[in-house]
Symmetry: C2
DNA sequence: GTAAATCATAGATGCTGCCTATCAATACTC
DNA sequence: GAGTATTGATAGGCAGCATCTATGATTTAC
């Protein structure tokens, strides 16, 4: 049954429209015996008769008419789908990967840019941890990723798109308690530190910042969660402090759920767009070019 | 491009689902080189690349992924459409023809019967004059027709389904005027007669009825209209009298728009269902069987 | 009755799709 | 790091199929 070709259906539709095999043959630039043969093949594949002799012409059977009716819209849609790839304009499904912070900072602007400039391009967005993003990119599960921290894996081509500033955050209650205990430089017990998982670049930055300021403190109490939004909720609930991207906490700070407890000295975390080094698809390259032009620190 | 067969698309979809050519080959009960060849053919027909080497596997290109996404639902719909004809149940599009009176008397019950008993059957209904119905039936433009009057054309198989009683009708004002003039047997001027066109069986019956009762009258004034509903409206507006099927005027009589002026002597007009004599399609035959069982005079 | 129109059939031909048997490249494993 | 498994590509051979031209059979029209 799957040996039916598109021209079999096209033939059926044209016979139905024009009424005779000969007319369909002319329309399809072929001969009448070819049309007969195609109908015979189609009927053989389907296992039932499509036409019935009616005088000197052929009339559609009940099932044949049903098939014509069913196939008419499907045929048109299929023709369009198959022809879509030949359009000169950029068309396709591009899989975008992004870390959670990158998703919050880069994606809104990027998606808006792509939708206006390249309306034929459909984005499949997947939010993952940085380590997984690199894996997806190399494994061809993603075409373009936004990730945190300088990544220097072989076979990856990157472009910096700016930095996000980080800030130690806590709930107002926790901050007051820490101030009462005289902790002004860096957090310590009894306020535990919450962070992204240990393999995350943000975690490394946090350890770095911690080392700069707390050489004299004992090993800090670090707990992890792989989701920044959840991290914010935890800290806002007074369960500890966390080094959070400023851009994702603005709302919570404005509403009084969070308050900054200590400004970090460093320049924050660098974000970058990345594609495979050997990427050749013009659409992905164009999207990478546009992604590289993003500046996530500019609008602040 | 139309040389693409369904198995090409099926192959593409299974590769996309299973990830490798080899897995798709096993799923499709064929060999891996065959899958490679099919992909090559498909890409050749489409004119653009669907896959790109990625390590030792193949990854979909942006366009390829787009095609997979577009084809997935179309493929399923097409498979369903093609398989529909092989279902054991009756499925198909049957073209029904009917005269206007038959449409009013037979079709409601017939359609209800078919929709409950044969839900897979779709009816295409066309209302035409009797002469045209016979022509449609013989020309294979209709599969089953309901028509008035005993039709004895060669190549047609009929079954009587009852008679409709006829009645001379007029508006109450016209009826009163006729009564005042002492016309009790049959209508005459100044109330003109309205009728269906001259080739219609109902017109013949009307002439017959007229002849029975008005041998002494001069040639009556006969006007025609090819639409019974319009005929009713004309008569109700006081423009004349007409020999109308009782079943179609019940409502107008009940509402006082029409009133019977003289009961006709004959048994009315016989209606019948008809198919081509050499009809072989089991669905049409089944529908004819069901149509023959109708009794349009029974429910009265 | 003749002519035109419609579809079917037959034979020839070129192409296409499939299979078996290999090769090449890559990833995994000990 | 060597061996092995996996993945897809290639080559050769073969069968089948779609197409064409030429012709036949049947029906409709004039």
């Amino acid at each position: 049954m799957n040996r039916i070709a598109l021209y079999h259906l096209e033939t059926l539709l044209w016979i139905a429209r024009l009424g005779t095999f000969a007319a369909a043959a002319e329309r399809l630039n072929t001969t009448q015996p070819t049309i007969s043969a195609r109908v015979r093949e189609l009927e053989g594949q389907l296992g039932y008769a499509l036409f019935r002799r009616e005088g000197r012409r052929m009339a559609l059977t009940v099932r044949g008419r049903q098939l014509v009716r069913d196939c008419e819209p499907l045929w048109a849609a299929l023709e369009r789908a198959l022809a879509a790839g030949n359009l000169s304009g950029a068309t396709g499904v591009v899989r975008i990967g992004a870390g959670e912070i990158a998703a919050a900072t880069c994606l809104p602007g990027f998606v808006a840019d792509v939708e206006t400039a390249l309306p034929g391009v459909t984005l499949d967005i997947s939010i993952e941890l940085t380590a997984r993003l690199v894996q997806d990119l190399l494994g061809a599960t993603a075409d373009l990723v936004f990730l945190a921290g300088p990544v220097a894996a072989p076979g990856i081509q990157t472009a910096g798109i700016g930095t996000v500033s980080l800030c130690w955050m806590a709930s107002p209650a926790t901050a007051a308690r820490m101030a009462a205990q005289g902790i002004t430089g860096a957090p310590a017990s009894p306020a535990p530190i919450w962070s992204l998982p240990r393999h995350s670049p943000l975690h490394q930055v946090m350890i770095q910042a911690l080392g700069d300021a707390t050489t004299t403190l004992s090993a800090p109490d670090i707990r992890t969660c792989n989701n920044v939004r959840t991290l914010i909720d935890i800290v806002a609930a007074g369960r500890g402090v966390a080094l959070l991207p400023e851009i994702m906490t603005r709302e919570a700070v404005a509403s009084g759920r969070l308050t900054p407890v200590w400004q970090v000295a460093g320049r924050g975390v660098e974000f970058q767009a990345a594609i495979r080094a050997e990427e050749s698809d013009p659409i992905v390259l164009e999207l990478f070019r546009r992604a590289s032009a993003l500046r996530i620190d500019a609008p602040s």
